[in-house]
């Protein structure tokens, strides 16, 4: 018996609907159809009138959620793909993000963003939006990489009074399985050392955690290098203390992200480590991201576009040989 990452998301929503009458789900085709990825399968029958189909307007969805939240509800909205949340950008970053600052009234919405690439999904169904939202003060951005985190962080997201962008990785939906939903209970804002090592630190999040662990295992077998992998878990707040502690152990940093290379989470990690931990660095810190092009359709092009265990290994070898 194992649960998948998408099971965890569905289970978390079921738990939330059951335990908190303020919670409702709103999204395109999420009721009778159960959602594009079946993340809400069966929930409409179980919780009538609390799992609602939305019109094809992300702008309207986010606006409705903000209004409902101001009236005391705890809405979870599902963007069918993270890419489409750009249509709701104004509602999220201008209204939801600033509302507490302007008025003292919090906007406890949770926006589920099916993020990241899968083979053959192309430019509109593969993008990673976390850095865009993390740029704005007033927004919490979480990027769970494990089944237990997918479950516990969604529940925690809804409990937070701030707007939360919940970036769930589509590649992990059915690919990632675990024995149970039970995890270590780390809160949002705390990174996790996924794998211990002492020769270099890979800081990453979401699906890239698994690619980084594979790369680390490969290097361990090949040449005995011990690579530490840090899973940020939430990119905002960013747990730079855990990152610095790891770099203090290893002296070498590689930040890996699936998002585009210009700016973003990896750049933020590197700049903070350089600013606060320059004296810890034994080698120039490195970044590895996807290519600076739209995400390609063809599975082989896609595989060459995103970081892979091979490209992470290559970067690490370079970092370690310095």
């Amino acid at each position: 018996m194992s649960v998948t990452y998408i099971d965890a998301i569905r289970e978390a929503q079921e738990t939330l609907l059951r335990d908190d009458p303020r919670v409702f789900l709103y999204g395109q085709d999420i009721a009778a159809f159960g959602g594009a990825f079946k993340a809400t399968k069966g929930l409409a029958e179980q919780f009538p009138e609390r799992v609602l189909d939305a019109p094809i307007s992300e702008d309207a969805m986010a606006g409705l959620a903000i209004g409902a939240a101001l009236q005391g509800m705890r809405p979870i909205i599902e963007m069918q793909f993270a890419d489409f949340s750009s249509i709701a950008f104004n509602q999220i970053v201008n209204h939801a993000a600033t509302h507490f600052y302007r008025t003292g009234m919090p906007v406890p919405i949770t926006v589920r963003l099916p993020s990241g690439g899968t083979a053959g999904s192309g430019p509109f169904h593969s993008q990673s939006m976390e850095a865009l939202y993390a740029h704005y003060p007033g927004v919490v951005v979480v990027t769970p990489a494990t089944v237990a985190d997918a479950y516990s962080m969604l529940i925690e997201s809804v409990k937070l009074d701030d707007p939360v962008m919940y970036c769930e990785h589509k590649f992990l939906y059915r690919w990632l399985k675990a024995k149970s939903l039970q995890g270590d209970g780390l809160p949002i804002g705390r990174a996790r050392i996924t794998r211990m090592g002492r020769h270099a630190t890979v800081v990453t999040y979401s699906a890239m955690v698994h690619e980084a662990v594979r790369a680390a295992e490969r290097l361990q077998q090949e040449s005995g290098w011990e690579i530490e992998v840090v899973d940020l878990r939430s990119v905002k707040p960013l747990d730079i203390d855990t990152v610095l502690a790891s770099v203090a152990r290893t002296g070498r940093l590689l930040a890996v992200g699936e998002a585009f290379p210009w700016g973003g989470v990896t750049a933020e990690v590197v700049s903070r480590v350089v600013a606060d931990g320059f004296h810890l660095l034994e080698a120039p810190p490195m970044r590895l991201n996807s290519r600076d092009t739209p995400v390609p359709y063809h599975p082989k092009l896609w595989a060459a576009h995103r970081p892979t265990p091979e490209s992470i290994c290559d970067s690490l070898r370079k970092l370690l040989s310095y």
Partner: protein, 407 residues
């Protein structure tokens, strides 16, 4: 590629000794390899026939790389207990986590395919020193990483302290790992705490050595000096004669003692010259003021007082400040020549060796006559002075020492 020694992660194949298709016997040398430390033979682990050579001459391979394949009988495998390719592959597969397939959910909008993946508990890490890169050169500490700099500051280390470490980083740079290993290594040697005096001398010499220092020398006849000295009531030592000659020569050519800072030459403002005094575990340099304006007789008492206080470590900070050059008499140790190093805040140091009786050819007598001579060396900062300028100063000192009554 076998493990050829601790901390060796790879080796270069120098020569392939056996062609493909040849039989090999157990322990036969089949490949000659070279590490940064030595050349050695890789021997066959069992007898068989060489069916494939993967290694190429001149190429480096990591420890554990398959260099070639032997065809071996099953009896030989059983007898020697070597790992076969199949056994290695089995071991590799066993260490990989199991993957399981599950049918994908029906989905009209989006299909997810590919293998499933079960999350596994993180494997336990066994600490190991294997896999550290092979030292590639002896370029040393030409680049110091921020981490290395921080660690050195923490321990009070200077770049000069890294000179013994062979770097294993890119371009032969010394890494923090190299430093820590070296520190561990010297833990096994007997050691003691350096005295504050030793540390002060070390610091001064290290700072001075950052400049391009050169030394010139000549010999000087001492007979007139010694004869003059014999007739004095208050006897000055040869060091004082030298000190006085040095001051008078410098007064004529003060630019030689200039001190270069950036594009500015700082000139002597007073002919205050230091005298090196050997003390326990080090050397002190008290400064005698305005040597150009004092007679030899005046200098004796001042000199004796400073030397005495130096030996008793009773010098004040003012006693050692503001010198423009130094005189050192290593002849007192029975030495005949040396290459003294000036203080970091001075451009010149003048050294004199022990007087030695030598036969010197006399043109007037057409015969060798006995004479007492000593070697005189001057080390200078070549940024400020050239050999010619330093030589001119040195020859002037030699000339002044020939007229001791004028000093």
């Amino acid at each position: 590629m076998p493990q050829l020694g601790e901390s060796i992660a790879e080796a270069t194949v120098v020569r392939l000794l056996v062609p493909v298709g040849s039989p090999v016997t157990i322990d036969q040398e089949v490949i000659e390899v070279e590490t940064n430390k030595a050349t050695m033979g890789v021997t066959a682990l069992c007898s068989g026939a060489l069916v494939e050579l993967r290694a190429e001459e001149g190429v480096s391979y990591a420890v554990g790389t398959i260099l070639g394949i032997l065809e071996v009988s099953e009896e030989e495998v059983a007898r020697t207990g070597v790992d076969t390719l199949e056994a290695l592959e089995r071991k590799r597969l066993e260490t990989q986590s199991e993957t399981s397939q599950s049918p994908g959910e029906q989905n009209l909008h989006f299909a997810v395919d590919g293998d499933g993946y079960e999350e596994a508990a993180p494997p336990e890490i066994v600490p190991s020193v294997r896999g550290l890169s092979v030292p590639t050169g002896t370029m040393g500490a030409h680049y110091i990483s921020p981490r290395m700099r921080a660690r050195m500051d923490e321990m009070g280390l200077r770049e000069a302290d890294l000179s013994a470490i062979v770097g294993s980083g890119a371009g032969g740079r010394v890494t923090v790992d190299d430093l820590e290993k070296f520190l561990d290594y010297i833990q096994t040697w007997p050691s003691s705490q350096a005295s504050p005096m030793r540390l002060a001398v070390a610091d001064a010499m290290r700072r001075s050595w950052t400049r391009p220092l050169a030394t010139v020398g000549t010999s000087v006849g001492l007979d007139r000096l010694l004869s003059h000295r014999r007739h004095q009531e208050k006897k000055a030592g040869p060091t004082l004669y030298l000190l006085r000659a040095f001051a008078l020569a410098l007064k004529e050519q003060p630019e030689v003692a200039g001190f270069l800072i950036g594009s500015k030459v700082v000139h002597p403002r007073s002919f205050d010259i230091g005298v090196a005094v050997a003390v326990e575990d080090g050397v002190l340099v008290p400064v005698i003021r305005q040597v150009d304006q004092k007679s030899l007789v005046d200098l004796v008492q001042e000199y004796d007082d400073l030397v005495d206080r130096a030996r008793r470590r009773r010098l004040t900070e003012a006693d050692t400040k503001g010198g423009i050059a130094t005189v050192t008499n290593f002849g007192t140790f029975g030495l005949t020549w040396g290459t003294p190093i000036p203080l970091p805040n001075e451009t010149l140091i003048l050294g004199i060796g022990a007087g030695v009786k030598k036969p010197v050819w006399s043109e007037t007598l057409s015969a060798f006559i006995p004479a007492t001579e000593a070697d005189l060396e001057m080390t200078f900062d070549h940024r400020v002075v050239d050999g010619g300028g330093a030589g001119l100063l040195l020859r002037r000192i030699v000339a002044l020492l020939q007229e001791p009554q004028a000093l």
